[in-house]
Subunit: 426 residues, 2 copies
Amino acid sequence: MSWSGARNKELMERARAVLPNGMYGHESVMMMPEDFPQFFQKAQGTRLWDVDGNEYIDYMCAYGPNLMGYGRPEVQSAIGAQLAMGDTMTGPGAGIVELAETFVSMVKHADWALFCKNGGDATSIAMVTARAYKGRKKILVARGAYHGSAPWNTPSMSGIVPDDRAHIIYFDYNDVDSVTKAAKFAGDDVAAIFATPFKHDTFTDQADVNAEYARGVRALCDEIDALLIIDDVRAGFRLARGCSWDTVGVEPDIACFGKVIGNGQPISAVLGSDKARKAIESIFVTGSFWFSAVPMAAALATLKLVRDTDYLEQMVKIGTMFRTGLDAQAADFGFALRQTGPVQMPLVMFHDDPDFRFGYEWCRQAMLHGVYLSPYHNMFMNAAMTEADVALTLEATGKAFDYLKANRSTIEPQAKLGVLKRLMAS
Amino acid sequence: MSWSGARNKELMERARAVLPNGMYGHESVMMMPEDFPQFFQKAQGTRLWDVDGNEYIDYMCAYGPNLMGYGRPEVQSAIGAQLAMGDTMTGPGAGIVELAETFVSMVKHADWALFCKNGGDATSIAMVTARAYKGRKKILVARGAYHGSAPWNTPSMSGIVPDDRAHIIYFDYNDVDSVTKAAKFAGDDVAAIFATPFKHDTFTDQADVNAEYARGVRALCDEIDALLIIDDVRAGFRLARGCSWDTVGVEPDIACFGKVIGNGQPISAVLGSDKARKAIESIFVTGSFWFSAVPMAAALATLKLVRDTDYLEQMVKIGTMFRTGLDAQAADFGFALRQTGPVQMPLVMFHDDPDFRFGYEWCRQAMLHGVYLSPYHNMFMNAAMTEADVALTLEATGKAFDYLKANRSTIEPQAKLGVLKRLMAS
């Protein structure tokens, strides 16, 4: 079986005419290595098939949502059963109550839940809720952190007006002094501090959260009566069976979940404590499909798996095998890697690779041999992954390292990285 | 068979503990007449069943999404087939290209399409795109129009800061002078004018669009090189097989669609002309589930029905029967109605009913007899409705009129209308 990209290429041509940039958003392959497929026809368990029929072990997991394996039977049967009854109706099903009760029982700080669609719905609602809490305006956000693509946070400034960010104040992640300084700068007008569970910005090493920093941010929020908001959209349920800062013993006032909670079905959530109840009850937010019953049924099935299976331990085991396997392999071929972040959400970069030429070519070679990795965005483990998957993965990455070694002196940085450089400079 | 609300009541009690206000958003029954069910177990064709098993002919259609009948077989089989292959994957399926091509072929002004989830995603993206178009800031919006619940437009001001609306300028719908004045006020900084297809604000009569007004807004946009944005989220495909202003021969630069396009599956769309292409390609927007394949398969099936069936003529026929039937019935019982807006999206109010006491009680009685109507929000026809459904509906509304007539002098305004009065005064 040999890799082919003909159908994908044809679709990309057609897409250029009718989709912005031929494809838009975080799943665009614009910044991925050459030849990465844009369109897929099938996903099952740990596997993904592109429109040309090439099969991959997928380490992107739909950029997060695939937590339990694509098409996980327990979730699929919940979807099928609810779909036969009703999905988007003139009100929610009983499932919305059961789902909120389940979240409240599983997530320590949570006394209530509000369900929405996008991760960005959840973070924007958390922001508005925090402003409603005491009538304050300032929102403290870690520099470079992604909290969605609404005007107050999208990475691109085109179409954004200064007023969209008039009250956003930036600080440095894992730096208590920096966040304290930002709070002082805001005077008595701090509504909330946003925290990501760990530093997972793109194109740069990840950083685990420092426990002292997490406790410091919590203490600061208590001192100034601002809300602590954890944006767990990307990391949720991959680090803990509750909020990700359970790992450092710190509870937020509001947490934002998304991506994984329906194992791919469209649903996100704002989970808050009683402290924030009056505030959330004072705002008006809604969406056409927020009350659809199918995603809630999928979320109930997913939460049951989170609660009752060893999915988390499995991801840690497989993630550890993946990381140690790659390190050993890199050393064998004369390379050194920087592998950062939790093993469940790995980022793999090459030492001494400032223009990403090795990282990009390595991912490209692995892709051509059936393993879908990213050279610049954290990847995601899922609970369906097995030791056999890691063995197959290492076979492919072995070939990729071999290619790098053989072509070390002639590999050029990919042209699209010039685009990135210009984007980052602007 | 007698109506019962026991299970619904029990769920509402439980919900009060774990959901904001026991339920939030536009599907909350907070403002609906007493005893309206909040939770539903099933929807099929024109029918809806609440958690107590009461069956209703549903004139809310999930507040719009149900265009072709709940669980329409052509759409359901597209959903089932795609679900078996893959839904939320590491990239879209080929369907995203086919769907964009289909929209471009069906909607006159459209040269490209961008898909998202909420109607509010589409309107916010249109706003940001318009600002990117010429680097201008001001957005003209009709007073009282709903364009989603993002901070720049939500009807509640709690948690909203003045900066969120610093560049929103309001004008009066159907009033060319008013919109011209607003544009003058904005000087040379107008990015876009938002238009709803017709006036469909809640708690007030609807108003059809004046063709002269529509042409005037188009001419004004051309004159000042601002983008004309039609928010067709609520009315889309119920007035025309393309943009709703096809009915008056006016094309926008951008149209926002949502609700109906997947017949209940979560998908919305921004449809733009070449004029706006560079602008949309310069902004960054995305969402975790925007590229999921199932809603796109559902949308393709729905668009095929829009193109190839007489769904629209059927809705007009049934909507006309509903309207004329109610008028005749009202006269028989000594009442007069104000029925406004297109018959496919009817709003029914009582003459001389300033505190809505008759409207609320009439809807309550109809609900108890198996017909789900709204006293304050426009309703929606769907293509599955038949003459037999209208006959059954008129049986129920006949009983409701009879009740009103018998109790005319003793009906009190419902307590929750006091809440509304306070909300509107604040």
